[in-house]
Symmetry: C2
Subunit: 388 residues, 2 copies
């Protein structure tokens, strides 16, 4: 574990503030950004009117409930810690949330949080997932983990659980971001799963120990899932699924948003398929597609689906022979192509129109040469045939 | 049936040329565009060197095989006709093919071709379709036909057949565009289906009677499917499916290209799902989505999937009450909102951050009002409640 770099008083202040206000409050974020967490907490605690009516109102109800030393000690007993902005292991992506940035992240687990998030892809989706969705979430998470990625999700039933389990099954890295304290076993049925994630990966929350999950907290939490990762994959989502909210957060943050297409006859794919009609959302058909989307430019390119990059496969053997006889760069007439292909010139003439339409060949001077569609594939093929 | 307006000699010339050259030949298209079909055919028939070496080479092999009167009589005996550019029932969309425009379209059936194409959506896909694909093709085609649209397809096994049958089942309009003569029963197993289409809808081809289907002709034919309709829906397509070629033609012609998402675990959806990653291709989840894509601006808008247009559905009852208390335009402070909502001011303050993050509310002066996301839905809701 990386040693923290944020000083103790600031850590205490952030722990206190995270108990007193709900995360994501812009007024609190602005106050902390302007004066630092220590001064902000001092002002809040002393009910300094200078913080403004809004901050006073936001903090009044719980200001006396703050117990930062106790919360930090509780986490310590669980082998956990509070990771703060400025700490080495702070996930840089969270800074894109601006004034809605978490005050801190309560963490259980041995991995370095920032590095794990740097490798992470979010896999989210429906609680009431189908076998199809759970299969894809589990299988792809395992493949992502095996490819050295971390799988981040929300520990809910359904897709989230399948995603965490897929990574755990191959001894991979997985991160659960909760909408309650990291010591709260929610959902109940995922008690053992959460313990395994804390053991093998990371369990993370903005809420201090003991906080209960509340409906609005899931919406607040979703922005952290989106911000902490470089891309979010929605596996299955009904029309009103919360994972659509995560996807929208990711879009606002300029993260890659990917959707696993599903049958239009499945209610659990209505929301995810509809998301495909949103600007900037991509359909992914494999882990290679995901890696391409989140990967750096040029690296990690997904292998193209055969038959999509060239129309050559759809051609008859004769037409393919004619096409093979068309030069890459210098044009050649129909008679010369016919001779090279060993077919009648009329056959060649019958092929030229369709091939030209498809962009596989193009007219040049009095003859034909390969067109924009045909050229790259043919060059590779001929280089290979020549043993290059 | 609309009376033709193209004169007999031009019709004969087009019938003759369509026997002598494969459709889509740009050199022939240019010749006809420059001099008219009659003069073009006269020059070709008399082997006039002025047409250029390419046209001579393209036409040499079959120029003596032309038998336009006989072909037109044959079609007439089948209750068919040759529809030419300039005829009232010529489908205007075909003109977008430029010099690759068909010389004419051989047609069987009673409907007016141009009007039918004007109402038509192309539904295409895999021959080796799955039950899922055939179900969607059949069901949606029936719904499209019931909504007054025509369903155009290629009469192949699988998706094409299911699409035609879906329209026929509701006594709807359907158009089959073939890659062989309209009198050729291909594929064999669709003999009866083609007869029903000719009876209830239209069977169309660029090739004169008796022409056999050849592999390259399917590629040539696909451009007509794309051009004659305002949109093409790909239901299922394997990685190397010919329907991907139709989709690409439609994209080049600026037609709407739509894909039915399918399970990523199905080989029959690999090509169609991959097409979703192409610029300009939309995922459709229902017939309403299709009608919206091909429909005119403003009309035919698909009902939004609930929960995608507003985040309001995902909110707890209390948060929803708070949101309801936020004014549409003039801002109001937290205390006033609390009073209106009948909840404690601290509850209100706890909600404001997440609501603001979601764009449901926005800060204005010292208070809050509905934000860009929340406003349109709320206005409609309140107008309705007020009986407006």
């Amino acid at each position: 574990m990386t040693p923290p770099v944020v000083r103790w008083p600031e850590r205490l202040a952030r722990a206190a503030l995270s108990r007193v206000v709900e995360p994501g409050e812009l007024a609190i974020g602005r106050l902390v950004a302007a004066h630092g967490a220590e001064a902000a907490w001092f002002a809040v605690r002393s009910r300094d009117p200078a913080v403004g009516a809004e901050v006073l109102a936001l903090t009044r109800a719980r200001v006396d409930a703050a117990r930062p030393e106790q919360d930090l000690a509780a986490l310590d007993a669980w082998g956990g810690r509070l990771v703060c902005p400025g700490d080495d292991e702070w996930p840089r992506g969270a800074d894109d949330l601006g004034d809605a940035r978490p005050l801190g992240l309560w963490v259980r687990g041995r991995q370095q949080l920032g590095e794990a998030c740097g490798r992470a892809v979010a896999i989210v989706g429906a609680r009431a997932a189908t076998g199809y969705g759970e299969h894809v979430a589990g299988e792809w998470s395992a493949q992502l983990a095996e490819a050295g990625r971390a799988v981040l999700s929300g520990a809910a039933y359904g897709i989230d659980g399948a995603a965490h389990r897929g990574a755990l099954a191959v001894a991979g890295e997985t991160i659960a971001v909760l909408a309650c304290g990291v010591d709260v076993p929610y959902p109940r049925g995922h008690d053992a799963l959460l313990a395994r994630i804390a053991e093998q990966g990371l369990v993370v929350s903005e809420w201090p120990p003991g906080c209960a999950p509340m409906r609005h907290r899931f919406l607040t939490r979703n922005r952290v899932i989106a911000a902490a990762t470089s891309g979010t994959v929605v596996v299955e989502a009904a029309a009103r699924s919360g994972s659509l909210n995560t996807a929208r957060s990711a879009l606002r943050l300029d993260r890659a948003v990917m959707v696993v297409p599903g049958p239009v006859t499945s209610a659990m794919s209505v929301g995810s398929n509809a998301l495909l009609r949103t600007e900037g959302v991509r359909a992914v058909g494999s882990v290679a597609d995901i890696v391409e989307e989140v990967g750096r430019l040029g690296a990690d390119l997904a292998p193209p689906v055969r038959g999509l990059t060239t129309d050559r496969d759809a051609l008859s053997a004769t037409v393919a022979r004619v096409l093979d006889a068309v030069p890459v760069r210098s044009a050649r007439g129909a008679a010369s192509i016919a001779k090279a292909a060993g077919v009648d010139v009329n056959v060649v003439l019958g092929c030229l129109g369709p091939l030209e339409l498809e962009g596989l060949i193009e007219r040049s001077g009095g003859g034909y040469r390969l067109g924009p569609v045909g050229r790259p594939a043919a060059e590779a093929r001929r280089a290979e045939a020549a043993g290059a």
